[in-house]
């Protein structure tokens, strides 16, 4: 991941350890506040990013706590962009889709939450590049 950030960006680097998820959540909360989101939207965005990180730890890194996760948060003119970069197992982006909710079972809600909450959720893998980049965007709605 490049080390240049813009004026409206912050970059957090953590290890793939679940104990840092709280830290990630408070960070997303603060940036969402700066972006001008309403409290209800802020808790949603926090959930989406938490789920994305938890998935990287569990699926991309298979529970290995020693790997790197880069989280870049950007304040857009009216919204927020979250980029999560890992160097773990790649899965083809088409496979990253949430399930339907008709069946009640433990698990399988993470991607559903992310897609439901964010305006855009995009997994990017490239043959020449290690790992996966996940780009999520949410805009501040003017009313409602």
């Amino acid at each position: 991941m490049e080390v240049n950030i813009g004026q409206n960006q912050v970059l957090l680097q953590i290890k793939s350890d679940d104990r840092y998820l709280r830290l990630v959540r408070t960070m997303v909360e603060e940036i969402s506040l700066l972006a001008g989101f309403a409290p209800h939207d802020i808790s949603d965005i926090v959930l989406a990013v938490d789920e994305a990180c938890a998935n990287i730890i569990k699926h991309a890194y298979g529970g290995d706590k020693s790997k790197d996760i880069f989280i870049k948060l950007s304040l857009l003119s009216s919204g927020i962009e979250v980029i999560l970069k890992d160097y773990g197992r790649k899965v083809s982006p088409e496979k990253m889709k949430g399930r339907e909710l008709d069946e009640i079972r433990p698990g399988g809600l993470g991607i559903y939450f992310m897609k439901k909450i964010m305006d855009s959720v995009q997994y990017i893998t490239r043959d020449s590049v290690e790992g996966t980049e996940l780009i999520m965007v949410k805009y501040v709605k003017k009313c409602g």
Partner: protein, 112 residues
């Protein structure tokens, strides 16, 4: 996460404290496994001390719900805040779980 357990008449009331995310949920799972082993039929889980719940926390509660259902027990939830209520709603779990505003209402519902 912290867990407090008390009995009100024949109902087991479990008070959870802390965020229920993928870091803390394994502990919650272990805790509930111990309780379910006793075959408890009436359980109220009070989420008053839970500020945040992720899909990992929901999975834990769904598991408890389903296991209890299998042996004829019943689980009721209470004490949600705006955030946790919102997360149950996005997951459409608010219609699956028996959710009460307060612990007293949840306990009372067992004897009505």
């Amino acid at each position: 996460m912290e867990f407090e357990r008390k009995t009100e008449s024949d109902v087991d009331v479990i008070l959870l404290k802390g965020d229920m995310d993928s870091h803390t949920s394994p502990k919650a799972r272990d805790f509930f496994a111990g309780i379910l082993k006793e075959g408890k039929k009436k359980i109220v889980v009070d989420l008053d001390g839970v500020k945040y719940i992720s899909s990992a926390g929901l999975a834990t509660l769904i598991e408890v719900f389903q296991k209890m259902h299998r042996y004829g027990g019943s689980l009721k939830l209470c004490g949600m805040n705006e955030t946790t209520k919102g997360i149950f709603e996005i997951a459409k779990l608010d219609s699956i779980f028996a959710i009460y505003e307060t612990k007293d209402k949840a306990v009372a519902a067992f004897s009505s």
